[in-house]
Symmetry: C2
């Protein structure tokens, strides 16, 4: 697959607590030479950077040399765009502040930009996905946590110190559920994968109503299980989606008053529940939004393939790495 | 005061429900030839534009001719930056959609930009005031209502359709006080001048505790009266500031998670209550903000003169009018 045409690529890298995945991204949004390894196998950051660096040099070769690589983009939890460091990431093996952008630049001789995974996802949607051509939208990733990437005037919002856009930690229920961040009532405690499991527990224990969800060990329940139950007409599954969607929609109404986005784009397992989750989100959003905004913000679900989305997002950052 | 030096000016115009004021603004933030008239005297928009146009031509003459005027900036309620129109402003005499930017351009031959008054105030603070040199901050105006202007990456946030930044209408108490916008629990229903009067009423009727505030007819109570009472150690006045400041601080914590601002700048009568209001705001803000943001966002009070601030803000917009 040697490239002799001089076609330009970016390299996209997504660093998660479990896996590190990477690939070449072309201008049309195709991911080539998709590969990866276990992040957890490298508790030593220098060995991690060496291994990743070796893989990156292979990608460079595949692309036909450094001249064909515009830059490297990295999406990682707690990554600071301004400093190129991963800062105190609770779910990664390396403690403290890790200057990973510099470490990869040294090993490849290529410019590296880093940002957190949700910001990278927003860039991916703007460059290749549901938000193509939009200048004002909000990306919400519904995963283990709730992440966000905010685009205003066509630019990612990094804020004063590179850490803006933590909409999963907007407090939506003062005094509500305890969050991993130490506070109470964060959006993430209701609308993440773990938040929904808490809701399942609350709903199942509050009634004797039969439900298919009672057959699954609580800690193993996923959005997919709730979706499957809803498809069978399971009343409690529908109630769980309605409860979750209503909290999201109320929060979105406040986000709209802030930045007046053209769209809110959803990504992640919960977003795949289709109308079961989208309908209550839309109803709560429209019921709670100010008149001047009504009907103006579209609710979209990412159409990017799960396996490609993270690399595409990081790759989109790579195109503009300096 | 004829200007033969070729010194550049912008014209700033602030349109309020009661008064229209305007003046020349120089690059140092001085307001010259400050003048005005009653908005309400002109229920006909054409006569209003004619009168304002005549005043503007006088300002042009004072400045030494059109060549010395960089542009005209207008701050007005419900003004849309993208269209140059005032849209459905409930507190202005003209109904529907008024293309005022075009009307003033026709009458003066000078470029005109418009935005809402709180956005203009944010530009004023960035160009001449407490936020000088900042690229990421939020302006909160505490007046009859609560307005906001959000600066991100050195630019005002107008949003997809020119109407972003209505932080006075973020819902902070679901199901709470009825708002003029038709919804319940908006920040404005607690922290505006009228919101505080509602709080005074609630606090005074909930207890027999003596208070200097009982001597003032309820509908006439101002932030200044509450401040004066607090200065005398009035317990209920202090409680009113604490209640109001706590709601503002909780809301600010969520705003910080959105845009990671360097500062939040306060303007308006309530902001003049000094530590009585600032202390509870800061305490609630720091108590409710995520760890990664703690201690990072400054709380500032506008230092611009009341009489100049609105014209300066509009003038700051005028410098970049096209």
């Amino acid at each position: 697959m040697e490239n002799n045409t001089g076609k330009p690529y970016a390299i996209g890298i997504d660093i998660g607590g479990t896996n590190t995945v990477f690939g070449l991204v072309d201008a049309q949004g195709n991911v080539l030479s998709h590969n990866g390894f276990k992040t957890k196998d490298y508790p030593d950051i220098n060995r991690y950077a060496d291994t990743l660096g070796t893989h990156l040099l292979q990608l460079v070769e595949t692309a036909g040399g450094r001249k064909n690589i515009r830059g490297i983009g990295v999406g990682a939890p707690n990554a600071n765009y301004y400093t190129g460091c991963i800062e105190q990431a609770p779910n990664l093996p390396w403690k403290g502040i890790v200057p990973l952008a510099d470490m990869l630049r040294e090993r490849t001789g290529i410019a590296v930009s880093m940002t957190n995974d949700a910001n990278a996802a927003a860039l991916g949607e703007m460059t290749y996905g549901a938000a193509w051509g939009m200048k004002d939208f909000i990306m919400i990733t519904l995963g283990t946590g709730v992440g966000s990437g905010i685009i205003i005037n066509g630019q990612l919002v990094y804020g004063h110190d590179g850490l803006a856009g933590e909409l999963g930690h907007v407090i939506v229920r003062p005094g509500g559920r305890l969050c991993g961040c130490g506070r109470r009532g964060c959006l993430e405690t209701y609308c993440s994968a773990t938040g929904i499991v808490r809701t399942v527990h609350e709903v199942l224990t509050s009634t004797d109503e039969p439900s298919r969800l009672r057959r699954i060990p609580l800690e193993q329940v996923t959005s997919k299980d709730i979706y499957d139950a809803a498809e069978q007409g399971d009343k409690l599954a529908l109630e769980i989606f309605r409860f979750t969607g209503t909290i999201l929609g109320e929060a979105f109404a406040n986000f709209i008053a802030f930045s007046g986005p053209e769209a809110i784009v959803l990504f992640g397992g919960l977003a795949k529940a289709g109308h079961y989750i989208i309908d209550p989100i839309r109803e709560a959003m429209e019921a709670n939004v100010m008149n001047i905004y009504k009907g103006k913000t579209r609710l979209l679900v990412s159409q990017l393939k799960d396996s490609d989305a993270a690399i595409l997002g990081a790759g989109a950052l790579g195109w503009e790495a300096v």
